[in-house]
């Protein structure tokens, strides 16, 4: 076996373990769909009706069938919505990707640049204010800032819609549709960027400050290079690594991270899907979303490991 590919085998094994867990863990969840739906309702089922209902909903598949179903995109039917799970997930996924992906990228780029510039001006008033502000902002949870933004901009000022990803039944297309999407995106996006940016900013700044004192940066300055090149190509490049690691780890929590914000803004992403599915014990949906999140985590980890090797040549030796 080629040692270079060993990590790949490890990743495959991990994926298999995750499929197993996603199959087994929900079995430990107390109660099932029928209890959740009828437990608190006025309708009382007798034993025969309950058995019939269970029959209709279908029993649990074995693990092999479950695995085969995953590969063939047959992820079962949602119990509550009576729709194929794959369709539900594929409908929700683009919205989550749009919201979370944009938020993460914006927070990464803006936080990184702000961190680099702040470190370059260390000791200055602007830098001190930035660090103080970011530290405070980092302490505010998404749920707090999200609700505040919602109150201010949606209810009081009315500048942005309070929920949803598009205006319902508007049947827009083309440019107006895009504007409508962005309009709906603004508040949840802002909430997430505010949550992610301070961490990136502080991490970048701290890394940069260390690098600014290093001998190789003095060499770069001695070489008479343009200041921007010294700052970004020589210094920031080496501060990028921890920030990217953080970015990747955060990205892996994309689905669960979206849960709070998507719920507050009623954004039709995977978070909302998962949240409602948990409420109604809609097991196939929960399984699918959780498994997707786990696999995403693995994929991102793999990507990060490969990226690290490219970014810091010393890491190739350590792996």
């Amino acid at each position: 076996m080629n040692t270079r590919h060993q990590p790949l085998y490890a990743y495959l094994l991990a994926a298999l373990v995750m499929v197993g867990l996603s199959y087994g863990l929900p079995l430990l969840l107390p109660g099932d769909y029928i209890e959740a739906v009828y437990g608190s309702s006025q309708v009382v089922l007798d034993a025969e009706q309950e058995a019939q209902l269970r029959q209709e909903l279908g029993g649990r598949k074995g693990f092999a069938a479950h695995l085969w179903g995953l590969v063939t995109l047959d992820w079962g039917h949602s119990l509550a919505l009576q729709t194929p799970v794959s369709r539900l997930v594929l409908e929700a996924l683009p919205w989550t990707l749009l919201l979370l992906g944009t938020a993460h990228l914006l927070a990464l780029v803006l936080g990184f640049i702000a961190g680099v510039e702040a470190a370059w001006r260390r000791g200055g008033r602007l830098e001190k204010a930035g660090v103080g502000g970011a530290t405070m902002l980092q302490g505010v949870p998404e749920i707090g800032s999200g609700v505040l933004l919602l109150l201010l901009f949606a209810y009081h000022l009315g500048w942005f819609p309070a929920g949803g990803a598009t205006t319902a039944y508007a049947e827009l297309s083309g440019g107006p549709w895009l504007l409508d999407v962005l309009h709906h995106l603004a508040l949840p996006l802002l909430t997430l960027v505010l949550a992610y940016l301070p961490g990136n900013f502080l991490l970048t700044r701290a890394g940069m400050v260390m690098i600014l004192g290093s001998p190789y940066l003095e060499t770069a300055r001695a070489k008479g290079l343009p200041p921007l090149r010294v700052r970004y190509v020589h210094a920031a490049r080496n501060a990028l690594l921890p920030v990217l690691t953080r970015f990747g780890l955060r990205l892996a929590f994309m689905i669960t991270g979206a849960l709070v914000v998507e719920t507050i803004f009623a954004y039709p992403g995977l978070g909302t899907l998962l949240f409602t599915a948990i409420g109604s014990r809609d097991l196939p949906v929960i399984q699918a979303v959780v498994l997707l999140a786990a696999l995403l985590m693995l994929l991102i980890n793999l990507g990060l490991a490969l990226l690290h090797r490219r970014l810091d040549p010393r890491i190739g030796h350590a792996l």
Binding site: E218, A222, G224, L225, P313
Partner: protein, 620 residues
């Protein structure tokens, strides 16, 4: 391009004080010349290197001029300075691989100045960088490696190739060989010579004195930010400033065979405690500034200079900066700051003055003084000529061993030097005064300065004196004002130094109750108790066992470092001479046949008698 540093002063602002890193430094770096900048850590060497590139941190205040060709670096703004960097002056930084960006291949970093400063296309820049690296012995494969994949020597050559890529007229080498084996070091040294031959100016910042001596044309010795001595680098082993001499004596070069000395005390930071909110401009005009010398460790103020600035408006130094550590400092040295003067006497065997090298020294006393000077001194006992005319100089703080066969005149010369005998012809001077004349006018004063240990210890003590009386006698004569307690204290200290007992019973003993080794140490204690400047000792450890002998010799070396004790030691033990002598003088049949640095005399004896002695010593 000529590089000229004029009156360069650099201070670093710290919380409530300023640190004086460079103090009115003048230095010329001429094309084709390698100038070595040597000194202890913290003496300002690296600050000077950084100043030449305008790379001092924002906390630094720069005063004076740095002329790179026509342009004064201190007068330019950052953009203009950036234009000069690497084109006019490039640096091989210290720290080796840490000076290279870990994220880029060596080749890219070497080619970078070509691409960004000269706008050369990528492919061509890489070709030229590869050629430059190949010239220094790095092949294409090594060029494409990352810094962490290269060895220390490869990194050093890579850094050098990077510095040379724009063909700058000035090259600053900051400890370029610090982490290298001696083969790589020699290789680089030859390379530096070749670069100098291409009419580049090289500034070699180093504390490797051997490298400086072999490689450089001239050396500037810097202490606490001031140039103390400026001399042809080849003469570093014959330097005159007490600091340079002590520095050289501390250096474990292959030509040092004796035990290493070190310089007494510690270097201090120079902190300027200005009046509140006084910046350089203001203090230049109002001129109120205090300078403290502060140890790096304790921040303890060592000396307070009187307020008031010198004519340049700079903070005044409290006399000579090196005075607190100098073994020949006088009171005047602590008051007057010495200027950098041309050395008056033609000291070097081959003066290099025609080549523009000159020897300048910042010492009020003109450098290490000649403490003892014999000129054509001869002595006969009746018809027997014990000593033919001999010339011998002994510098202050030097250990000179007189070696030779029995009857070669060693003891006669030693006793002449001690003033115990008077020469028939010629003269002996001590500290610049005629010894015979001094002895007639002020025998007591002379006796306090020269200690003598005679060859036969048992004959040299009075058998009617107790141990205490023997050791105390010189002090009783010299210092009748000392009270009994102080006298006893001095005697006990002296006895302890030579590893003798200090119990009352021992003090009451008589010489016949002691063994020969103890009596010899008694003589040593007696000679040292008055803290002489010169100790003339005739076989002072012949009766001691090796362990006690080692301790006594260590004591003598320590006195040399701490008090500047000058030692004229007569011995026929070459092994002993080798461990403690700075200089060896070899005598044969009443003649001084050879004299020179101990290591040189021992490794390359010039006289057959010396060779015979060495051969005999190594076979037995």
């Amino acid at each position: 391009m000529k590089t000229e540093i004029k009156q360069l002063t650099v201070t670093y602002r710290e919380d409530d004080h300023r640190l004086l890193a460079l103090d009115r430094v003048d230095l010329q770096l001429l094309p084709g010349r390698i100038t070595a900048l040597v000194g202890e850590s913290g003496s300002g060497k690296t600050t000077l290197g950084k100043a030449l590139l305008g790379l001092l941190p924002p906390a630094a205040t720069v005063d004076g001029q740095i002329l790179l060709g026509e342009d004064d670096l201190t007068a330019l703004d950052e953009t203009a300075r950036n234009q000069l960097r690497w084109r006019r002056a490039a640096v091989v930084p210290q720290n080796g691989a840490a000076a290279l960006n870990p994220a880029y291949r060596l080749l890219d970093q070497v080619a970078e100045p070509l691409r960004r400063q000269r706008g050369v296309k990528r492919r061509e820049a890489e070709e030229r960088a590869l050629a430059g690296l190949a010239e220094l012995g790095l092949d294409r494969d090594q060029a494409r490696r990352y810094p962490h994949e290269l060895s220390g020597g490869q990194v050093q050559r890579g850094l050098l190739a990077m510095a040379l890529i724009l063909d700058p007229p000035l090259l600053i080498l900051d400890e370029p060989t610090a982490a290298l084996d001696c083969l790589s070091k020699n290789h680089l040294a030859q390379l530096f010579r070749r670069l100098a031959a291409q009419q580049k100016s090289l500034l070699l910042i180093t504390h490797d004195l051997a490298l400086a001596r072999q490689t450089a044309d001239q050396a500037a010795v810097i202490y606490l930010g001031r140039i103390m001595e400026y001399l042809p680098a080849g003469q570093l082993d014959r330097a005159r400033h007490p600091y340079t001499v002590a520095l050289y004596r501390s250096f474990p070069g292959m030509d040092a065979v004796r035990d290493l000395g070190g310089i007494r005390g510690d270097a201090f930071y120079r902190l300027l405690h200005a009046h509140p909110a006084v910046n350089v401009q203001q203090h230049r005009t109002c001129g109120h500034d205090h300078q403290h010398l502060v140890t790096p460790a304790s921040n303890h103020p060592e000396e307070h200079a009187p307020p008031g600035a010198d004519e340049d408006g700079h903070a005044p130094a409290a006399g000579c900066l090196f005075a607190p550590r100098c073994t020949q400092a006088e009171d005047a040295c602590r008051r007057e700051a010495p200027a950098l003067n041309r050395l008056r006497e033609p000291d070097a065997p081959q003066p290099d003055i025609d080549q523009g090298h000159e020897h300048q020294i910042r010492c009020r006393r003109g450098g290490i003084i000649d403490l003892l000077c014999c000129r054509k001194t001869s002595k006969s006992y009746g018809p027997v000529t014990a000593l033919h005319p001999v010339d011998l100089e002994l510098r202050a703080g030097e250990v000179c061993c007189l070696v030779g066969e029995s009857g070669s005149g060693k003891t006669t010369l030693a006793m002449l030097a001690a003033g115990a005998l008077e020469p028939d012809r010629g003269r002996v001077s001590f500290a610049g005064r005629d010894l015979a004349d001094w002895r007639r006018r002020d025998p007591l004063g002379l006796a306090a300065r020269i200690g003598i240990i005679h060859q036969q210890p048992a004959e040299a003590v009075s058998h009617r004196f107790t141990v205490f009386e023997i050791v105390a006698e010189p002090l009783r004569i010299q210092r009748p004002d000392l009270d009994a307690a102080a006298l006893e204290q001095r005697v006990l200290t002296s006895l302890a130094e030579v590893r003798l007992a200090t119990q009352p019973e021992f003090l009451r003993r008589y010489p016949h109750q002691l063994n020969l080794g103890a009596i010899q140490r008694l003589c040593l204690a007696r000679a040292l108790i008055q803290q002489p400047q010169l100790l003339v000792a005739d076989e002072p450890t012949s009766a001691l066992d090796p362990s006690v002998q080692a301790k006594v010799l260590k004591l003598l070396l320590e006195l040399q470092i701490e008090k500047g004790l000058t030692l004229l030691l007569v011995t026929h033990d070459l092994g002993l001479a080798r461990k403690i002598a700075d200089r060896l003088a070899v005598m044969e049949a009443g003649r001084l046949v050879e004299s020179g640095p101990a290591a040189r005399v021992l490794s390359r004896p010039a006289h057959s008698c010396t060779a015979r002695l060495i051969a005999a010593a190594t076979t037995t």
